[in-house]
Symmetry: D2
Subunit: 314 residues, 4 copies
Amino acid sequence: MSKKNFKETLKKVDQFKIDEDTNIVELIKSLKNTGFNAKRLALACEIYKEMIIDEECIKFFGLAGALVPVGLQRIIYDFIAEGFIDVLVTTGANLTHDLAEALGYHHLQGSIDINGINDEVLHSEEINRIYDVFMPNKVYERIEDFISKIKIPDNQMSVSSFLSYLGSQLPKTSYSILRICYDKEIPIFCPAFTDSGLAMQLGFHYQNLNLNHFKDMLKMVNIAWDAKTAGVCILGGGVPKNFIMQSLQFCPNSATYAIQITMDRPEPGGLSGASLREAISWGKISEKAKYSTIISDVTIALPLLFWYLKKIKK
Amino acid sequence: MSKKNFKETLKKVDQFKIDEDTNIVELIKSLKNTGFNAKRLALACEIYKEMIIDEECIKFFGLAGALVPVGLQRIIYDFIAEGFIDVLVTTGANLTHDLAEALGYHHLQGSIDINGINDEVLHSEEINRIYDVFMPNKVYERIEDFISKIKIPDNQMSVSSFLSYLGSQLPKTSYSILRICYDKEIPIFCPAFTDSGLAMQLGFHYQNLNLNHFKDMLKMVNIAWDAKTAGVCILGGGVPKNFIMQSLQFCPNSATYAIQITMDRPEPGGLSGASLREAISWGKISEKAKYSTIISDVTIALPLLFWYLKKIKK
Amino acid sequence: MSKKNFKETLKKVDQFKIDEDTNIVELIKSLKNTGFNAKRLALACEIYKEMIIDEECIKFFGLAGALVPVGLQRIIYDFIAEGFIDVLVTTGANLTHDLAEALGYHHLQGSIDINGINDEVLHSEEINRIYDVFMPNKVYERIEDFISKIKIPDNQMSVSSFLSYLGSQLPKTSYSILRICYDKEIPIFCPAFTDSGLAMQLGFHYQNLNLNHFKDMLKMVNIAWDAKTAGVCILGGGVPKNFIMQSLQFCPNSATYAIQITMDRPEPGGLSGASLREAISWGKISEKAKYSTIISDVTIALPLLFWYLKKIKK
Amino acid sequence: MSKKNFKETLKKVDQFKIDEDTNIVELIKSLKNTGFNAKRLALACEIYKEMIIDEECIKFFGLAGALVPVGLQRIIYDFIAEGFIDVLVTTGANLTHDLAEALGYHHLQGSIDINGINDEVLHSEEINRIYDVFMPNKVYERIEDFISKIKIPDNQMSVSSFLSYLGSQLPKTSYSILRICYDKEIPIFCPAFTDSGLAMQLGFHYQNLNLNHFKDMLKMVNIAWDAKTAGVCILGGGVPKNFIMQSLQFCPNSATYAIQITMDRPEPGGLSGASLREAISWGKISEKAKYSTIISDVTIALPLLFWYLKKIKK
């Protein structure tokens, strides 16, 4: 781009105001005219909106971090219920915690600053800590009860097929991610499934279990291959990010839309914090893609993103 | 606290939902029942609300980071206009940029990802970059014009008195922080004033200028000393944080309320990222204080905080 | 601990010096008497030293991040060759890149600041970028050649058994992690194996492949179960961290030693950045454990750790 | 740069080894052939070496963060003693702590993980906490004794002249930064001097004190103006970074060499974390400059940098 052209792309920063009439859509519109992460958030909102409007777009959604324990289960449930997600890739931990909530148990919140409360005491009390969220160990016992009673259709079925089966066994009235994905026929991929409490319970009870991970890997590649248009939204990073990205290399047009919300940064070189731009070199994201990385705790940025999408959909 | 007591303090994490009726006050209420930074944001909203309701509370506000260039000038202006700030401590850069906007110039926003646009080209085009916000160098020339025409009442006046005078010279119709602070008689402290483009222009034009920094230091200590109740809200960290904190050591009850929004972290040991808890050891914050640090870009968290305060005030 | 006792635990910070006679062991000793991350690094060096001296200690090692591409393959190779690792848990990416190096290909380094070089150009040149490290796409073609010629002993063998077989097929003269683990009979666990270029090549060529992940999960639990003493060193975080940690819950004494080198932080609640203290609540790390988290790029801290261990071993 | 040229700039990543003969110079040489922050550290070492060899280079050094409390006083002292610094810009806090050490008092280190030790207790014990470093409050009393006895030559002298005078009053045998700067006639600039415990003691005792900050600002601009070649090394960020940078705009050739060691990042838009590239747009750093930002805790990277410089100087 020539010097002259660049200057013409610059726009005035609006010193926006917030008043009694402000709503989420207007706030995001205002943030679009700023910079730093506020602008990135606004850009992400617009990009996701386009992903929804674009009927050909297959929407990949990556889920890492303790999002169910912290209270975002319902938001993710609603992303799926609203049709904002076509393919879900997640850590096993979020499925384990989703199952716990579906079975009627709850996570707890508390201050980690209270004097004299420490991890040694928590251990003796059998309360597991996830930063400032807590889960009594007994929840695992109830998961075990549940797991011990299911009838696994096939020891060699793919992980995603098993997760779909698992969803079918959960109460329809719950706000379970597993259940809504079953109901809406949204595949759940979990490439590191054995890295979870849920899989450990399964392994202990069904010693011959060999859920197929390779079938899922190929299925995911095929979904990407068949996608005329692909969009991706990554919460956190980790395996869900990489698994979506490696598949998008096989999408004829690569991803056209890309969003990541993360606290990870590019400089240490890990994939979690890698810029979305970098994915262009790999052919994972298209040169013409619209993309935005928001450096933010997901717990703050995701509700805003959903609120915006919900409001504009109405 | 005994084991039993701690368990009783734990509360259920609500898997909150967002729907058509959600407003900012309800969203913050929902986030209060989660964890991680979402909960910290909700806590900060509640704490600031209490600071406002508590009529004896002197509200100290620290401003670091390029908040005016990025588009938060009006939000900060409204914090002052609404009576949410009693004492402002800022970097000189924000005052320089505030002056630029007050004089009718604007900051620009643009993508830093556009191919072929780089800092070498920007330099030859005389456009200064602040991450993805831009300011033509010629703005400084206009600041210089303005500075060359003012009549400094006293070469040895305190920095805060000078800033008050400067505010009085700016158009009442602007959304200038300098102007609204003058109008509302809110002192502005700027302990590193000579570390700014504004001070450089002053220094070049008024070679005998020796604005008094020590007077301000003592004035600030006296304000803290006289405060029956003190509350503090820090954006970023840096000198504004430390300057407020060192003064609060002289507040008889230390700070009763404390909020910080920052991306800095405690581990490298700098004051910017130091936990608010640490300030208790120094007597800067009270043992009984309510406090919350939000690890977030200010550009995302501050508009939410203001939106909440504005809404509950109505 | 009583007030009096705490005061007695405080030690003088030494204002250490570096001179001509300084060596790595003395430097680390000096850093022990400081604070912040320097002290954490020194503590980690001491802890790893104890792990090595303690003959009963099973040393778990977690490997996440692009450590082979960046040039740490030989350091990790030597960790294994020296006997500093008993169980390796890794991402699939590091194995893919290890294979590339073992087959004679190289990663490249370059500046990401050079004007006019961008990811679109890299894509058209078929050069994949990993921050400031680069890998020509053709390397994958050679991996494919290699993969197409191997004879997989059993389509349902465990991932770790397969990786051991793969190591046996590589040149003994290379500094391959896969090879040295085969030679030294060190098991490699890769719970998210299908999240890698290597696994994709395998999947494309061997459509009936269903390497068993559950067997590895149980094998890992058994190793932890049998360990009288356990020590853990985590580079980065991610699946390797969680997989080691979930297994350590079954270690009778939990981990006695724990080290993590990472740029991730606790506040966003993810497991990667979770403090090692938190793992005490889960019974993954012992209440009596010695542990240290270093907030540092692995590329800086790991060579220092290895250098120290190598020197004291002599 | 053309496509072909870029490819030619790429170099092989060496899988370096560490053995018995490794020394710091060879380690840095090895790290040069890697990527991520290790390579940035190696680059910084080379750049500083060039700054020292280049006899025309004026070496600006910015000091932010609690570097004296944590144990780096002697390293910084030796940077000055060795002639590696020509102009020092610092926070007031480091000077306050330097004075404390010069007067014979010490900082303490301790674990912040010990159960039951908390900031409330520390406050009642009058021990101030700086992450995991501690300072008894009584140190301030002794600083007060010292301050009450000095004879300030001129109430309106510049801050840097005052600091030089202060250095002259300290024992020659100490490893005080203030003292060595006096001895070597290295100016110390402290633009936010009144934001420090030292300045508060001065203000309380000498009510008419009005140390001149503007004179220093102009002096600093003149030093930059006169520099044929300028090099800059920033520890942390904050006011010292900005104060050096704003002056370098007046250096005819801008900075030719630039190094920053920091944990701050560019995305939130603050100057502390701004990339060194960005400074090119402002004319602070030359288009032709060699520069390197190391994302690292200063406590780890600075000793390595000094060790390297000391070794190659020999």
